[in-house]
Each structure stands twice: as C-alpha cells, then as structure tokens.
Amino acid sequence: MAVKRKAIALISGGLDSMLAARLMLEQGIHVEGLNIFTGFCVEGHTHAIRNRDKNRQKRNNALWSAEQIGIKLHIIEAIEPYKEIVLNPKHGYGAHLNPCLDCKGFMVGKAREWMEQNGFDFIITGEVLGQRPKSQRRSTFPVVARESGAFDRLLRPLSAKLLPETLPERAGWVDRERLYDISGRGRHIQIALAEKFGIEDYAQPAGGCCFLTDESYSRKLQDFWNHRENKDYEFDDIMLLKVGRHMRPGTDWKLIIARDAGETQYLRGYRSKFAHLSITSHSGPLSLIDGPIQDRDVELAARLVARFGSSRSAERVDVQFTDRNGRQRMLSVAPMQPIEVQQQWYV
C-alpha cells in the first residue's frame, strides 16, 4: 500500500491558505495546519477588547478555517524569536513596518521545524504569485524557500503550475496537473474554488494578516521606538499599541486613553505597571501614562484626559493621579478646550 504523505499547511485564517490545504486533501494527502502567533496578528483579542465589536463573532479565524476543512490546527507562539524579524529585517520593510519577506521566511522556517519534528513530508502555503508587490513575486518565492530551509519541500498549490516543480510533485506524491496557476491580485478563481468546496464563510483580511501593515499602528510603533533608547519591544508594549488613543504632549511621556468601556477594562490590567489617571467625578476613560512624567505636567495630562469623557463640558473635573509607586493624589481641573489640543500630540 502506498504511504500516505503528510503536509503541514500554514493557516493564516484567510481563504487562500484554506484552499491550498483543501486542494491537498483532494489529492489524498494527510494535512494538518500550523498557525503562528507573533503578537502582531489581527485576531480575536482586538475584537474582544473593544465595545464596538461586541456584536461581531469573536473567533480565531485560523481555528475556524481548520474546522471548515476538517484538519487539526496547531497554534504556536513565536513572540520572542519574531522580534528579530520586526527589529532587523534583512529585506527591509514594506509600505509600513511590515517585514513581509523576512516574515514569510520565518513562518515557513517554523513550519519546516515542525515538519521535521513530527515526521511530515512537505509544507504548503496559500501564497499566490504576484498577489503582494513585495513578498509574493517570482523572484522572492525562491528566497523564502531557501531562507526557511524548506527548499523544494515547499509547495504553493494555488500557483504551483507557474513555478518550478517541487519534491512532492516530482516524487509523485502530488499530481501537478491538479494544482493551480493563479496569479495576481484578482480573487475570482479563489471565490469559485471556495464555492466548489462549499466554503461559504471566510475571513477577508484587508491589506494583510497583521497589524504591521496598518498605517496607524506602524506610526505608533515608530513613535514608540523614537522615544526609547533601543529599538526593541516587549509583548505588552505591542499589545498596548493596539489599544486606546495615543497622545504625546510631552517629549518623554505619552497618554494611552481608553476609547470605551471595553478598553478601560483592558487597561485596568496595566495599572500596577504604569502611572495612570482616572476621572472620579464623571464617567470617563482610564488613561495610562507611558514614560516619566514630570510633576508639572500632571495637570496638563489630567486636563487633556478630562476632555475625553462625559466631563468634557464640565467646569471642574476631579481626576485621580496614581504614580508608578502607587501613590495617589487628587486634582481638580478644567477640561482642555478643543483649541488647546495640539494636532501633533496625536500619535
């Protein structure tokens, strides 16, 4: 009896990776999925934090896609090793702070390690030739295969017919004729395939699979680096960049002001690590102070925060300031007037 070959599929939660895996199942390959959590992924937690997404189904799209096509999904956390990719990408950044080419090499490299540890035969991804201007080009595909160490054990079923033969095709594990020749940014072939396979519900990430392709997020990350000695980050730092309104009225400190009750709840978890301001006389957001604030600036911060709650038109607002050591004091301030708020404070 022929050996059943095994493929590990990188599953992002989007349609393409789901289709690539489904095509392999069609060919009798045993497929399991791998999803890598870098800390920048656009996933359930961002929905969980904000109120406005309360009605949206909170689900992990990678798990959801795996379930749709009936494969196991392994989620691995790679926050620490991924730092090197974000901080020093050999191939540089894309339009924002997205190091897509290095990132793909990293992800496929993780899949290769998993494949080796678990006795699998090859790796598949949902990459499509020409879909992304920087990282999914004919010239970059071999870079990913080489730098990940996957070489010709990396198969991209959606574009395979446009690419050189890989080991699974040469060895006859997979029939090349039944693979696809999709290229470019169009979606109609993928949508038709989804229909054929009865896949009706799938996530459609706009722009990319992570926050690094988001302009506003990248701006905050750049600002964060500009104001610290080393270009570095901790997990909490990158999570906090996803939450709240960030304003920098001082050179050394900025405010992270919750935008709704969900964000206030989330920021509460950080009160022991940050100086913070809470409005006590009215309902209003919790605000963290990131960086060493001088005593003389606390009032300015309190006035600014008072602008962002039901207190905005009050004459006086009570604000409680808690410093890094937990010492508290009360301030009674007049909310800042719109004209006093400088545009360049918004990060």
Partner: protein, 78 residues
C-alpha cells in the same frame, strides 16, 4: 462532581494565548484525563471548544461565570 485532573490558569491572557496554553497542557495529559481552563478573555468561550473539535477532544462544558470563562475538556487521543 467531575474529577478535574489539572486546572490551567489562563486568566489575563489574551487570545490566542489561552488556546496555546491549553494545547501545551493537553500534550502533558493522558487519554481520559480532564483539564479545566480558567480564562478572562471571552474569546476563549468560542476558541477552546473549536480547538477541542478540531483535535477530537471532548468538551465537557464551557461557560461564563462572572467575569471569567471556565472550560472543561476531556483528553481523547485520536
């Protein structure tokens, strides 16, 4: 009363970390054993049961209790 073999504290972790921790805990347990996971991210209510389904483990219960989500599952080696 359900016999709990291990309780995993995944409170204050944001998705998908509770799922990742569940996956790690399960790999150290044996067939038939029961794991209880405590979470504060409401996403766990959907994600841990989905993870159980794709791996063939048995979901015993998943519910919100106050601000926490408690999921219990039984390991089924496939």
């Amino acid at each position: 009363m359900v016999r709990i073999d291990q309780t995993l504290d995944a409170r204050n972790l944001i998705c998908p970390m509770p799922v990742i921790r569940t996956q790690q805990a399960v790999s150290g347990l044996e067939n038939g054993q029961i794991l209880e996971v405590l979470c504060t991210d409401p996403g766990a209510l959907v994600d841990i049961p989905a993870w159980c389904r794709v791996h063939g483990h048995k979901l015993i219960s998943a519910k919100n209790v106050g601000d926490e989500t408690i999921v219990r599952l039984q390991i089924c080696d496939s």
